[in-house]
Amino acid sequence: MKSKGYLQHLLKQYRAIVILYFAISIIVYPVSLLLQSLSREDWWGFDYSPISLAVMMVVLGAVTPFIVFSFIYDKTKMDTYFALPLARERLFLIHFFFSWLIQIIPALVSNFLAFLIANTITPAEMLKYAGPYSFSKFLVWSGILVLGSLILQLPSMLAILCTTNLFNGFVYALVLHLVPITIQGVWTSSATDYFGYTPSQSFGDFSLTNLEFHSIYVMSSSQDTAGKYLPALAVWFLIALALLALSSRLFKGHKVERTNTAYMVKGFYPAVIAIYGTLLMLLMLNNSFNEIFLYSERPFFLNNVFISIFLFGFVVLFIVEIIRYHGLPKIGRTILFYLAIFAVALGLSFFLNTTVQNRLMKAMPPRDKVAKIELTSADYQYNDEHRQKEIFVYPFGYVTNYSQVTVEAEEDIDKVMHIHREMVDNWLRLDLSARTHESMASYNNPQLRLVYLDSSGHRLLTRSYSVFSLRHRQDLEAVSGIDLINPGEGDPESDW
């Protein structure tokens, strides 16, 4: 009874916010869909997916906990809230649940209205590109909205509970919200530049895309490949549950007397700075890794880029420390803290760019699982007349000039895998200057994409290569029966 009554009270207390959320949700999605449908403009590429709603929910997920839990930064209010005959955990859960409800109910109503509009008012011609807004799509998107909004408010929740004033809370919440995207950035910056790397179907063998969760990503990916977003959602749902349990515990042990003082949870500031600082340094080092470690003529610590990154990171940390301590920090402690962050980032960058990349380069699916291998060779030429047979091939994008064959004989599979292994080994034996030269030569060598498939047709591994060795080219052509296309040799059918 208490919980129900309290939820009703919160609804009354925050009625203005609830009305505002309803208004925004309806304007950004169903109203805009309705206007587009009535105007009958922009038919080509017309998209009814709730991306705008997802963007809105990212913002609301970050901001709403600050509204619903604003009492935490006010000692007078805390006197009343904590003195109430209500267990602290229950008080926390009611507020958290309310914060979630006022975001999700307007979003679900909006989604339902949009579903109705797309199925009644939107002209059928406009739906040619995206397909009909089916009930199953509606359910999937509603489910994503429900889980997404639950997850998205937890970084802010954690920041609120670990800080003692609104400004700090906002800053830390922003940082915590950026962590998943930054991790994704770090990963892609360290694992997208190896021999054989193939985007779009990448990471088939080593997926860290699961670390990326924000509803915009999920919304957009859910349109393309059914279920692709599920691992990401599952990982982040589990993390969200852990964060929820942690938040509940922090709320229970909340020290009211520390409100508006230096800290609420002692290790929070160094932990956040250490984690996010390491990620940012790692991102910068990864992006300049080759320049610093591979192609530099000087030792890495004398490399200009390395020195610049090192100094830049220190200056940023020093400024953050000044803001944190409202004055000059202890310089010795700051230097030690920074050196620790930088050393970890440097070590991780080296590990990711060498060990992990080598592992990705050498990766081969287990032989007993491979049922067939699809070999595709293409060049960058694109012919509108042949558009119906276009495919996406890295690094050229969509092409119409390609050869493709699938080998299924056990003997042929063994041969292709053997050649594949030899190509990688040869590459690893090349010295660095030769690698640089060869890697620039994708337009002067035959291009080959290998897709390993199991007996049910699932991709086991996808890799794209420039085939440098003439022997490998000849062997591959012999086993596959197709001609490998070399963009540098030109297309006999083309006028180019």
Binding site: D79, T80, A83, P85
Partner: protein, 288 residues
Amino acid sequence: MLKINNLSKAFADYPVLSALNWEVPDGKVFGLIGSNGAGKSTLMRCISQVYDYDGDISLDGAPIADRKEKLFFVSDEPFYFNRFNTSEMRDYYRIFYPDFDQEYYRHLLELFHFDEKKPLHLLSRGLKRQSIIILALSCKPRLILMDESFDGLDPMVRLTLKRELIKLVDAGETSVIISSHNIRELEDICDEMALLEKKQIAFTQSLEDLRQNYHKVQLGYSQAPAAEVFEKMPVLSYEINNKVVTVVYHGDAARQEIEATEPILFNPLPLSMEEIFVVEMEVSQNEK
């Protein structure tokens, strides 16, 4: 009965309350006094579970955390939701206090001539305090904690409130603890006084006992007495002005020693509650 056993509370590394023990019997209005920083508000917040603490606090034998619906804490800053009026705040507190007495609430509104529909943010500080006190009393808790909640109330309201508190205390088992710097105000309302000094309850006594046991006398001597004479006596304070000495003392032993100095004048003076606590606090602080 509120029972506090071995209560300790520290902020960072600074102890505010240390191994504090206190029993508050039912049906009493207790005044809690102490110097600035003595820990009155901290004690209130520990009892009301706003602060975590070490030690045990129980109400009627059960941990107070399990009896929070029998406890109402009125903070020194009146609390209300933005644009809410007293009637809406009543609905809020009714969610948590099952014993909320609607009829009594109406009675209090009439008694204080209070407009429950007026938004609280438009009211003066004193009226906001009245509002929260009306709500606190209407919740019919077993224990009401008021942290300097009487400051700013006009004399008429204070008198009315005093009468209501006395009725409430006499009628049931409600106890009230009121902290204040204004001893004069507490004197009007409380049955008993407690002094919080040196991180503990230094003493508790009924007002009657305090008035009977503490004395202030003016002594006259034929020759100016030496200060050492009074220094050695168990008096609470003394002030020598040539041949006239003003002494505040407590108990018969001190009186006998004073009489032994054979003053030619022994003139009892009125002693206010405020003077009693000022000298007690001075004594307590000097002992530090």
